[in-house]
Point group: C2
Chain length 152, copies 2
DNA sequence: ATATATCCTACTATTTTACTTGGAATTGTT
DNA sequence: AACAATTCCAAGTAAAATAGTAGGATATAT
């Protein structure tokens, strides 16, 4: 039930982009460097985010990506869905049409899948990209303070 | 973030075994037939359940598997862990030692992983194999009644 | 004895993941 | 106008994980 690198790298990139919201944009090069990931691979993940309408691109020199909406209006559910195709832990509880298994009403595991899926989507839906960015800022401040005092 | 067939088949097999708790046992043949899965493959999954001490085997003719503890004392977290190795959605939030990523304290995604993992484990820990079996019995009754009335 | 089981290990095929490669199109800068 | 930095796009490939198969040894009720 592991998350793939698509989800992991993609979400981190999204938070990085969110950190610049209102002030500027980030190129794939910059994003890849921050995470130590190959540019070409990250390019593909960003393409998925763009296709889903979550980021806006500017081409050419000094181009890059920005959030297409305010960070508080983008849920992590949207982000993960864009990156991984779905948040479903099993196909038969996916929200897309035609994904309900034919044995659904006689499946002994389905109640558990539904319960799990509901909780997961609750968390993802209620967490916005702004929440993530805010947490990250606080975390970075803590780290900076910690380093300063330990050096002095 | 999909569950593999190990988790899916294995959990269903576990519920099937639980349905016989106190009355008898089931062979891999019977379990495989119920689910339409190959005997040889299911054998491997059951082996994992046995290794984890969740089921007890009886060898030889008319042998098979039973729960090694009362169904209300087996959580779905134990079952899934036995089958998939862990319930962690990302390695860095696994409960096993040495699985915390070196960048943990500067990772923008970690807070989300922790929140998700906590919810998932809550559900899995609080759902017992007895809950699953009870649900299944009710579901089967409903189906039986539904069929009878629709035929008559 | 024999049929029915678990038990065990190794092999293989398929699918998914995680990239890499190569280049076209766009745009700011000089 | 030339150039460098960038997004955009489509294919190809290597590695890993998943989902099985195959074959046989061992145990036990009848």
């Amino acid at each position: 039930m592991k998350l793939s690198t698509k989800g992991r790298y993609g979400i981190k990139a999204m938070v990085d982009i969110a950190m610049e919201y209102g002030t500027g944009r980030l190129s794939v090069n910059q994003l890849a460097e921050k995470q130590g990931v190959s540019v070409a691979y990250l390019e593909q993940l960003i393409a998925a985010l763009k296709k889903a309408g979550l980021v806006t691109s500017t081409r050419g020199a000094s181009g890059g990506y920005t959030l297409s909406r305010p960070p508080e209006e983008i849920s992590m559910r949207e982000v993960l869905t864009a990156l991984e195709g779905s948040t479903a832990i099993v196909d038969c509880v996916g929200t897309e049409m035609g994904q309900s298994c034919e044995n659904a009403c006689s499946c002994s595991a389905r109640p558990l899948w539904l319960k799990l899926q509901r909780r997961i989507d609750d968390v993802l839906q209620s967490t916005t990209i702004k929440d993530m960015a805010d947490d990250y800022r606080i975390q970075q401040e803590r780290n900076d303070n910690g380093n300063e005092t330990s050096i002095s």
